[in-house]
């Protein structure tokens, strides 16, 4: 369990900024205590300082996970955001996409979102911005990258991809073994 290096912190925050923009501040300065990012075996965990204090009594080898896992650093030094981070980034998302109930299942199996399945989209979404995907009943389903800006979305034909799939909650079943 160790602190993130300067470089890695920068990479991580750049990634998070794509999805939640300036709301990163909310993650670091919280009213209910001090939270911090910690790294173990290239995985990044977001955890309360209080819990971290207790966890330090355990040998690091025995700790499988603590707090919430945000993602991992790949061998090339990039940061990959995991579905497990959804709980924290969903409330602060900037660009939101709502799916029709017919398209929900498709997305949960790992497919991109087409215009036909698009229920609603928040305004002023930019192209290639990180987007959070919701069901019509406001249940966060996953996240991806907006393939078109909001303005473009209105023009395109129904089969065009609107949002590239990155991660969805179906992974809890599909790939439980390599969630971390």
């Amino acid at each position: 369990m160790r602190r993130l290096s300067e470089d890695r912190t920068k990479v991580l925050f750049e990634k998070l900024a794509k999805y939640i923009g300036p709301n990163i501040k909310q993650l670091i300065e919280r009213p209910d205590g001090i939270y911090c990012f910690r790294e173990q075996k290239n995985r990044v965990y977001y955890v309360s300082e209080n819990i971290l204090k207790f966890a330090n009594t355990m040998p690091a080898d025995n700790i499988i996970s603590l707090g919430t896992c945000f993602g991992k650093f790949t061998k090339t030094g990039k940061f990959k955001l995991h579905i497990t981070a959804l709980n924290y980034i969903a409330p602060y998302a900037q660009c939101k996409i709502w799916l029709k109930s017919s398209a929900e299942q498709q997305f949960l199996y790992g497919n991109n979102v087409t215009k036909a399945g698009l229920g609603r989209i928040s305004e002023n979404c930019e192209k290639y911005q990180g987007a959070l995907v919701y069901s019509m009943s406001d249940l966060p389903l996953g996240f991806g990258v907006a393939a078109r800006s909001t303005a473009e979305c209105k023009m395109v034909d129904p089969l065009t991809v609107v949002c590239f799939h990155q991660s969805d909650i179906g992974e809890y079943i599909r790939s439980e073994d390599d969630l971390l």
Binding site: I51, N62, S65, G67, T68, L108, P140, I169, I173, L180
Partner: protein, 661 residues
């Protein structure tokens, strides 16, 4: 290429009906099989006689009736003309036929009279009630028939009862016959009936134990348990309850889900699921988060709500230990063997994601399930660890406010989920289980802080119904540590055993709770709540010695398991036993009652295992894996053993000296 031109269209002529339209001819039967057509007309000599008699009776009846009518007409001329003769004759005929078919010729005369009188009576009533509709006549006929049938049924019943009373103990020869399952079931019922009123219904030649052995055998074949487990269950339940339990264990318990109160409320979740075509109901008054799923059009384990972490599939019995634990906010809680994280996430939900929750499991593969479930359900106050639970107090002694130990067990309470338990468990498995459970429970107790302002509680639970894994383990902990049993606060469930065969357990064990499939409609389960009242671990010289002796005996057993030569192992075990008893007597003066208990335990365990009795084959059967494990242990124990033994001898000498003084 293009399309193929059909030049000869319309010219194709169908040849015959085609292959598939071929019809099979009627089969030709050999003459010997053909039933002779006129066989129906040929009557046996008896039948002929009967027909003759019937005809004779008819004639007689007609005569009598005519006479009767003449008499009546004379009496009252105003009466309505007699009923159509056809009807009455028909009635007679059917009646007579029945009689004739039932009885032999001897009684015929008598019966004739009877029917005559009946006829007369009906005629009288007829004349009284004016004309009856044909339907009403039919009704009268039907009623008669029904009365007759009832009589017959009653007679049959009595015959059956008579049969039951005379249940005969099967001889050896009759035992060897292959029996159908229904026969076995019938016999089980009969034996239980006999056993319930033994002095009255018993067979004088056979003792109760013989009856019980027979019953056990039958139950084993009918429910496909192995002898060992069935014997345990028979010792556990009274006979009447045993059948219910076995029957209930065959059926799966209903599918239940737990609402994740971190993300949603039960009402909202129920609404969302009903919209998806799931048929559900609240689980009962005792839980505010449970739902029972009766039927579903979608897979309950893959709905978007499930993936979103609004609920988790969890057995009803799994709610109980967490409710007994009653976790509070801002506490430090440990779940010792938590995979797959159902109970642990329930704890986190009750803590509302505050404080710290340590979720431990010794199996690394299974911890992945905890990770998945915790992230899905949004549990953020957790540390998921993978280590042997017995090592936890070494790292975090007297640290936690509450500990939940859902101990690994043989799973005899969840037979419906895993049928293999019925046949795969034996004495050794159970012994291994409860040894581990005892160690884990002691570790759990050691890691709890008795001085915690809110807690100091340990909840122990298993999904087994056997006493060895439940009350006995608790009893052991009560002796070894400064803990007491407290009420679980569940409000239902049957009380734990305080007396069981030869065992007299701690009287407060009635505060523990047992749950059975046939009584509470959940899996077989056991919950006990302990409160630690002092952080001091009670130790005395004597108990130390007893522990060491115990270990020695176990080691001796392990060694003997490896060796194929019978002599050495038996001698070693005996040596160890002797030592144990010797020490027990020597130490008696120091702490009499306690030591006495220990001694009993020491003696009990080896006698229960009875390694000497285990044939050599089984030790071979146990397989390489076990051998290697025990070898490792053996090496370790041998290394560590030497100083221990010296220590022991030293102590013994000391004790003897003290005793002499």
């Amino acid at each position: 290429m293009g399309r193929k031109a059909k030049f000869n269209e319309g010219e194709i002529v169908k040849k015959g009906p085609g292959k598939k339209a071929k019809k099979q001819k009627d089969p030709v039967l050999p003459k010997s099989l053909k039933a002779p057509e006129d066989s129906l007309k040929q009557l046996s000599s008896r039948q002929k006689k009967r027909v003759k008699k019937r005809e004779e009776k008819k004639v007689e009846l007609l005569k009598k009736r005519q006479e009767n009518r003449k008499n009546k007409k004379k009496e009252s001329d105003e009466k309505i003309p007699p009923p159509p003769q056809q009807d009455s004759s028909e009635e007679d005929f059917s009646e007579d036929e029945e009689m004739a078919s039932e009885d032999d010729n001897v009684k015929v005369d008598n019966l004739n009279d009877l029917s005559d009188s009946e006829e007369n009576h009906s005629d009288d009533s007829y004349s009284d009630e004016d004309d009856l509709l044909p339907i009403e006549k039919e009704n009268i006929k039907l009623k008669k028939k029904q009365a007759l049938e009832e009589k017959e049924a009653e007679a049959e019943m009595q015959l059956n009862i008579a049969n039951q009373e005379s249940f005969k103990f099967p001889t050896k020869e009759s035992e060897e016959e292959v029996k159908s399952l229904q026969d076995v079931q019938q016999r089980i019922r009969e034996i239980i009936a006999v056993l319930s009123e033994f002095s009255k219904l018993r067979d004088a030649e056979h003792s109760r134990s013989e009856y019980i052995d027979l019953l056990k055998e039958d139950l084993c074949t009918y429910y496909s348990y192995n002898d060992f487990l069935m014997e345990k269950l028979m010792q556990l339940f009274p006979l009447s309850e045993l059948l219910e339990y076995l029957e209930a264990s065959e059926v799966q318990r209903p599918l239940t889900i737990r609402t994740n109160s971190l993300k949603t409320r039960r009402r909202d979740l129920a609404q969302a699921l009903i919209n998806r075509g799931v048929n559900l109901d609240p689980i009962g008054k005792w839980s505010k988060v449970g739902l029972v799923v009766y039927s579903s059009q979608v897979p309950v384990g893959a709905t978007p709500e499930y993936l979103g972490g609004h609920y988790i599939i969890q057995g009803a019995s799994s709610f109980l230990p967490v409710m007994a634990l009653a976790p509070q906010e801002n506490e430090r809680i440990l779940d010792m063997s938590s995979a797959p994280g159902g109970k642990a996430s329930h704890i986190a939900a009750l803590m509302k994601n505050t404080g710290v929750l340590f979720a431990n499991d010794s199996n690394k593969d299974r911890t992945k399930a905890i990770v998945g479930n915790f992230h899905r359900l949004g549990v953020v106050n957790s540390v998921i660890t993978c280590m042997d639970g017995r090592n936890i107090p070494k790292l975090m002694k007297v640290f936690f406010d509450r500990v939940l130990l859902d101990a690994p067990c043989t799973g005899t309470g969840v037979v419906a989920k895993d049928n293999s338990v019925k046949t795969s468990k034996n004495e050794i498995d159970i012994q291994r289980c409860y040894n581990l459970q005892r160690q884990l429970l002691l570790a759990a107790i050691d890691s709890v802080n008795a001085k915690s302002p809110t807690g100091g509680y340990i909840v122990y639970s298993t999904c087994s119904v056997l006493l060895e894994e439940n009350e006995w383990v608790i009893d052991f902990a009560l002796k070894k540590r400064n803990v007491k049993l407290v009420d679980t606060g569940l409000g239902f469930g049957t009380e734990g055993f305080t007396k069981y065969r030869h065992l007299r357990l701690h009287p407060t064990l009635n505060l523990t709770r047992r749950f059975y499939p046939h009584e509470h409609n959940m899996d077989g389960f056991f919950v006990a709540k302990l409160k630690k009242f002092s952080n001091v671990i009670p130790t005395s010289d004597t108990s130390d010695i007893a522990e060491e002796v115990e270990e020695e005996i176990e080691e001796a057993h392990e060694i003997s398991l490896d060796e194929t030569v019978g002599e050495t192992k038996s001698t070693k075990v005996e040596k160890a036993k002797k030592k144990a008893s010797l020490n027990g007597f020597k130490a008696k003066g120091v702490n009499g009652q306690r030591q006495f208990n220990k001694k009993i335990e020491d003696q009990e365990e080896p006698s229960k295992i009875s390694w000497e009795d285990v044939p050599k084959k089984t030790s071979v059967k146990l397989g390489k894996k076990l051998k290697t494990v025990s070898k490792k242990k053996k090496i370790g124990s041998l290394k560590s053993n030497k100083p221990d033994k010296k220590h022991l001898k030293h102590k013994n000498v000391k004790l003897v000296k003290r005793h002499n003084k």
